[in-house]
Symmetry: C2
Subunit: 270 residues, 2 copies
């Protein structure tokens, strides 16, 4: 059995201060770093002695095939090296970690997993809300809009749970997903988009579900972004009026106007 | 306006190495630390200059009332101090952060939120699985079994999403929740319990949904624990046979037996 190993390392949303201490230690000890597209490239400064190989694999773009990444990990680990596979967010959420773990187990290569902050959590922090405010919901569902067979998730079933929805990889099909959600949820359901959550480039849109598809795109928000939908998101309104972060500057006024409309419409409906 | 501020700090699942670097920096700069029950008490070593106040609030037990915790935060922040409110896991998931944020905003006290690793992620890492294996599901739902009005979540609706279920605070009502899930999901659905995920005291049970209520309790597993249910959990079987972690020693053999039963039953059914 090899003395090498693979660490599946979660790089979090981007801000290097949002790495765990455990992740920083693993990077410092790495021989090989396989770097994902969505991870902050500055992370390599924490792995000064490692050979860095970029293996970006963004949906739809030219990319390193998954099978090749898996072969790379195995090749270096079987040479006795410590391979750190860096993934954006938390490696265990939408990260193809399942397939990598299976391949590494088959090759009898020891694997360590280091958790991180998924961008849905960073998005909620940016909006100043809890993902699960107990007056509004009992949970949160993290779902990808991008299915393996190119179909859509069952949006009606997801809406029926009453949980906050944190939708990843949804910006390229925002129209169809909003349409599907609107057939199951009230038009006034609070909604938000946070692009580049947890990075210096972070931008937000905040409003209501029936404005989401048009207004968030009009604001210029695109991938990578997390879309949040649900009554817990409504708690963000007070926060936006107080928050002074420059990240909010772009979308703030429009968002707040949308919010005022929303509040007024709810008041009229009541 | 006060020069004080409050940091809602996510302490992660317990292992201090799973704190973010940002959290460690905030603790080092804290004047007051308000410490939650579920956070590792060793965390105070990272806040050497802070006054530490323990404000545990475990479900059902004798505890510090939420309103009192909020008053404490405000009082110290309004004195110009940097108050760090330490919460287990990620503060934005089942942590009453929503209420605390509202109260702090009303008092015009600046708030910073620092994300952390929620125990559901640590549980998946411990089992060596992705929460969302794309061959099995499009997402994961984090849900608390403990509703504000003491009712139950809509388990049938949750099951209908096809997402992995990560159930928090479920051990005290495991029988009723398993019964409800079994009316919506196949008896052979893979299930797991991870108690004290991401700590040195971590213990796991791994099996199938129809054995969960009896066997996990028979193994002595109780709160605090995360219950994982869904086909993505089935990927854990190979891992358990390879993993050498002592944390698995207690439950491993029983779990593996349960798994073999499961695999055989599935084979017979096919």
């Amino acid at each position: 059995m090899t003395t090498g190993k693979v660490t599946l390392l979660s790089a979090g949303p981007g801000d290097l201060d949002l790495l765990t201490i455990k992740a920083a230690k693993a990077l410092a000890a790495a021989d090989i770093v396989l770097l994902d597209d969505l991870a902050n490239p500055g992370i390599v400064s924490l792995a000064p002695q490692a050979r860095v190989i970029r293996v970006g694999k963004r949906g739809g773009c030219k990319s390193t095939p998954q099978a090749f990444i898996q072969r790379l990990m195995q090749r270096y680990a079987l040479k006795g090296l410590h391979v750190v596979r860096v993934k954006g967010g938390d490696a265990l959420l939408f990260g193809r970690a399942g397939e990598e773990l299976t391949a590494l187990r088959r090759a009898q290569i020891p694997v360590e997993i280091i958790n991180g902050i998924s961008s849905g959590f960073a998005a909620a922090a940016s909006l100043g809300i809890s993902l699960t405010h107990r007056e509004h919901c009992q949970g949160v569902t993290f779902v990808t809009a991008h299915k393996q067979d190119h179909g859509e998730p069952n949006w009606a079933a997801l809406a029926a749970t009453g949980t906050t929805l944190a939708i990843y990889m949804g910006m390229t099909r925002i129209e169809s997903l909003c349409q599907a959600l609107l057939s199951a949820l009230p038009a006034l359901t609070p909604a938000a988009v946070v692009q580049w959550a947890g990075t210096a480039a972070e931008r937000c849109w905040l409003g209501r579900l029936d404005h989401l598809a048009i207004d968030a795109v009009k604001e210029g928000l695109g991938s990578p972004a997390v879309i949040l939908v649900g009554n817990a998101v409504g708690e963000a309104v007070n926060w936006v009026t107080h928050k002074e972060s420059s990240a909010f500057a772009v979308a703030e006024q429009t968002s707040f106007n949308a919010w005022q409309d929303n509040a007024e419409a709810v008041a009229h409906a009541a």
